[in-house]
Symmetry: D2
Subunit: 397 residues, 4 copies
């Protein structure tokens, strides 16, 4: 009863803002969030990995878990994979078939360029020609996997950089990275994209070959139209206005997609929206504004987190819900009122519009959306009641 009342109050509020609730609901139903296979497996900090009972041990189990998340949320139809982690004991064809049998699809292909001894001084940026060749081969192999999986996105993150002043020639590293990325671009089909990720630091501590959005942008431009910039929310210096970077990349038609997570200091890989929910809303606001207010800018929205303490699947469902709520809030923003306040340079009024949207409790709306999709209104509660966790803890021990 209370929920119905809450929904009514919300509907009345949104009507007051001129929001088309039906359209919002449709937008929410159409949202797609990609979960990463590696988030279902054990992970840790450099100090320790606390193994979790039931954590997925191979690609099949990861796909099972991703499928479970999709069944409960209805908005996670694809799964990002990491080449050397996921295509080891199973072939690509087997993984693809498994995914489809579980009602999900393979999403972005992530080459694995940082876990072999040859990559000690970098992969495609290394001064060692053999390392570069190995990395390039792996990238090209990843493109083959894309074809086999019908995946459209190659998600490239380089761990490349240096630890000490003088260790390598910074301009030469730039040339090596550019040259190899260009080769990868050349191997892509026309409907494929390579997403070039940047990161401020770690695991390289002095210089990072793709250290900020500007460098990623530059490399993409050198490659061609199939290269776009991937934004990971944990990869910026403190104090960075990420939403401005997002707006800029959209404006330049160079935004390629997201890795969602959250951080307090560095690349902490925490649950998205857990530390700075308002910042995340401001990012989504740009995505919705750029799409005209009624949907979000059309790029892949991928989660990239490392839950070391929370239950893997619960944390993923929570993350998806956080993203859904934030998207809903951005859809519920009164853009006419915002534009009017901006035109009058009335900062306080503009802020009010932003805060009104941010503090809108959209959960009744999302509950309704989920019920219309034939889902439980609270996916997290549904998961806890489903017995899935108990089952995998037994079967995977």
């Amino acid at each position: 009863m209370a929920e119905k009342d809450a929904l009514k109050v919300l509907e009345s509020t949104l009507a007051g803002r001129g929001i088309d609730i039906k359209a919002v609901k449709e937008a929410l139903k159409g949202q797609a969030i990609e979960t990463p296979s590696w988030a279902y497996a054990n992970s840790g900090t450099r100090f320790h990995t606390f193994g979790q009972a039931g954590a997925a041990r191979n690609i099949l189990e990861k796909l099972e878990d991703a499928s479970c998340v999709h069944k409960l949320t209805g908005v996670c139809p694809t799964v990002a994979v990491h080449v050397l982690w996921d295509f080891v004991d199973k072939t690509v064809a087997e993984a693809k078939a498994c995914a489809e049998s579980l009602g999900v699809k393979i999403g972005a292909i992530n080459p694995t360029l940082f876990e072999q001894s040859e990559y000690k001084f970098g992969s495609i940026g290394s001064p060692d020609a053999r390392a570069r060749q190995k990395a390039l081969d792996h990238l090209l192999y990843s493109v083959d996997i894309m074809r086999e999986c019908d995946s459209k996105f190659l998600s490239i993150w380089l761990a490349d950089g240096t630890n000490y002043p003088g260790q390598d020639d910074l301009r030469q590293r730039k040339h090596r990275v550019a040259e190899n990325l260009q080769k990868v671009h050349g191997a892509l089909d026309d409907d494929m994209q390579m997403l070039v990720e940047y990161k401020f630091f770690e695991p390289a501590f002095y210089s990072t070959d793709i250290g900020d959005w500007g460098m990623a942008y530059l490399f993409c431009k050198k490659c061609g139209p199939k290269a776009k910039v991937l934004v990971d929310l944990g990869h910026h210096p403190l104090g960075t206005n990420i939403e401005q970077i997002v707006a800029l990349l959209i404006d330049e038609d160079m935004l390629g997609g997201f890795h969602f997570n959250s951080k307090k200091y560095a690349d902490d890989d925490l649950t998205v929206a857990s530390v700075q929910p308002y910042e995340f809303f401001l990012i989504f606001n740009e995505l919705v504004a750029a799409a005209g207010g009624g949907s979000a800018y059309d790029v892949p929205y991928m989660i990239d987190q490392s839950h070391n303490l929370k239950g893997k699947i619960e944390a993923m469902i929570q993350s998806v819900m956080n993203i859904q709520e934030t998207y809903a809030k951005a859809l519920c923003l009164d853009r006419k009122a915002l534009a009017a306040a901006q035109q009058k340079m009335d900062i306080i009024a503009a802020e009010s519009v932003m805060k009104d949207a941010f503090f809108t409790d959209v959960r009744p709306l999302l509950g309704a959306v989920r019920e219309e999709m034939g889902l439980a209104p609270d996916p997290l509660a549904a998961y806890r009641e489903s017995g899935y966790q108990g089952k995998i803890e037994k079967s995977r021990s």
Copy 2:
């Protein structure tokens, strides 16, 4: 009609959390937020001060504006003053009488230790004995003003530090600061407190004599029981967990009060809760938790902002409302559920309790509280309708 429904839904939500709404309302009515006289006058960055029509030009006008804010919000009964800015053309007695005639009181006394040529190398930390003496004299004079104003708080911020390695002996500076603070402490009456503020940097750029909470704590301990630490929200390195510092200072009985504002990078002096509203909620959560859940820890809550673009008075009302809402949210947190989740080490459940409180739209409740206090439900709208701004723009030109 819609507002009544919203209030009902809110009441039902809060009842579900076991919240005593009447008690929450009483707590909100009893809140006291101190506004600073200097925020009503023109201010700027080091690049420029954009003068505002109607900005207060002297202590009397500042008190008028503070009184206006108090009349509209009902929770701002006191006004912090800065000695050299406010007691220049009017005597302390005149200012005090003026305040009282306007229905407010003088609050914390802020000595002014950074605007005279003697303070080039610091005030009580200066290597120049005359500077130190002048600063000490000013501090003791400020204590006299406290007595005259019946003010209980001496709010000490030092601009002291050095700009270059080698400029001064760091341990000697520490001794000088300690020695003089002790003298000030000795001059306080038993019911007075000195609040020692820390700041990470600026205007000193290499070392700052009271640079973090630990240094402020240490100086206070050297002084005695009347010295406590003042927390300014803009005075920490990026990434600092401020709520943890607040919890710690409370636990040590060393929290003296707050300077509320907000920042994205440095000491930006923006409107409180404008950039990281969740962080501000987490701070208030500690204050309410420490007071048992039904009120906030009993220290002076002062605003210290510098609104260079927003209308001075509007920005102050907005700030007060942000604080009220955040306090209300913290009062609406289900502490039993939180404690239970913490005991089970169920991180996700604990986060849910936090987010439930944070995203509670408490504005209907605050509207009701204000109406019960005989105020307009929306003080900002009331101000805009009041004609006050037009009046001062005319009379103060």
Copy 3:
């Protein structure tokens, strides 16, 4: 005697590294460092400006001081000017004539786009069309001044940005800035350059219209070949690898020049090389490497500092000497040994080469260079002995 021995030892060391000392001396004699007119006048933090006896009060006095610095150091032939600060009581022609009579020239022209009430919400990025027009007019006027002064560099720093989420549309601001910069570019003669400066934050605290090198780069590319990026050492987030940005901009042929200074946290405008001398060396190392090892990359090297505590002229001479020494160290780096170590991926050997150069005491060499140029070997000591400071303190009171 001791100095001669030191020089001999140094020469022997450098010979061991295969350094052509004569060439190094010639490079040092040919160095040009531009000092800014505003650094000779009083300046301060937002908290206070401590006036200095003898500080220059107008363009003529500023030029006198700049000329004094040039006479003592021999490497400061040009003076950057700020349009609204310097061409107020004197005409451009008068200033130019004065400069020439003093043996210096007007260098970069800095439009002043942040000190008038119209610029409250920005200059060329403002939502207010009148503000944008005024700013554009001022920029075009600055190009006229360039012609009149025979100045080749227009040094553009915008204070533009926003303080609060929602205050303005971020993409529209970007469009406005681009459009106006393009107009300025169109007005430049073929042998002129506009240098576009970026800054992470301040005085805008939420978003900054040209916030990082990537944005500056993008705007320059939209303008055309006469636009290049200006790097100010105080305008990056903490932890940024500035030398990597410098190397990248050089590699893209997009480095326009420098504003030298130093910082510990934010844009502190301290004496260059005073806080992180090794970082400054690493930057110079890229500049010398890019020029082939025997000179520095050919862009304007400008100082932009704000000495609030140090004597203005002394601080400027100290700054110039710091730059000279750092340049000399970079010239004394054994680039063959470095390349060899890099090729072998011998990090420790590469670091040794860097540190050998950095810790080379080049002062005897610089002393010799100055003597060959007919100057005193220690310009700072020469200034202290010159009586100039006493003279201006008297004449300018």
Copy 4:
């Protein structure tokens, strides 16, 4: 020949500063730097550990390598150990005997409180009573080891904290940590010390139980006179003035010792002095100043680094040499001239004194010192020539 000349010039320079070169040499001979056992074994980032040929695989091999470093440098007589890493396959008595047979001694004992499943939510700060008891038992066992090893320092670093707001009660965590540290303090013999390390973040990402020097200080004070603060150079927010913290802790008689390393952004565990050599010099300057100028403040100087790319032993020798050189530079500072400049508030003169010391090339002096100690003048070159690396690469495969 050249080296002799360089030494002569250096001696003449130091004589000019009033430095007693003999005393400096004696101080340098008496220096003691502790190397950590774990730095001789493989280590990595959270992304990968690149195994090194010849890396030590157990405590005996680690002691061999530490002994090798001591033999070449003469100043590394002790080795820090980590309880669960080093006393697994060998007993404490065996390790002690092995160390002594190799001419070194066991130094600080580091309890290992972060690698077992019970510590998922913390060790002595955990909400789980069993985890706390296990951690306390381990700490008390570590004190037993101290007795058996005749070690005087218990070096406590906690990985404790939380990842999410609400996860745990911050004040309760503080109480738990305090209570258990007090118990450990109670178990120490009178000549033992516990060194309490703080860290800004990682592996806890939201709150860290001992997050800054102030918290470490507070815990130590609650324990008693045998507890002191341990400073790790990589554990501060960016922009922190570490030398000021060192000066303060010395002044309060609360400095317990150091973990030396270097960083550019976070806890990067790079070679000490590799990124900001001047900062490291400024820290050493405080240590020498506090000891009167002729030696360094008497606390354990321990290295704590993680060399993932450099050769383990070479990097350790390089680190030791960097520390020696920095110490030597601080010993060569003209403290009378510095004090005089400070007294006159002559910032530039004070800086000159600092830079004169920092840029003194002390390597000829250290070469001489080593030769007087019967060592090779360049320990790194001596290592490369020794054949040790080849030997262990063979024997440890």
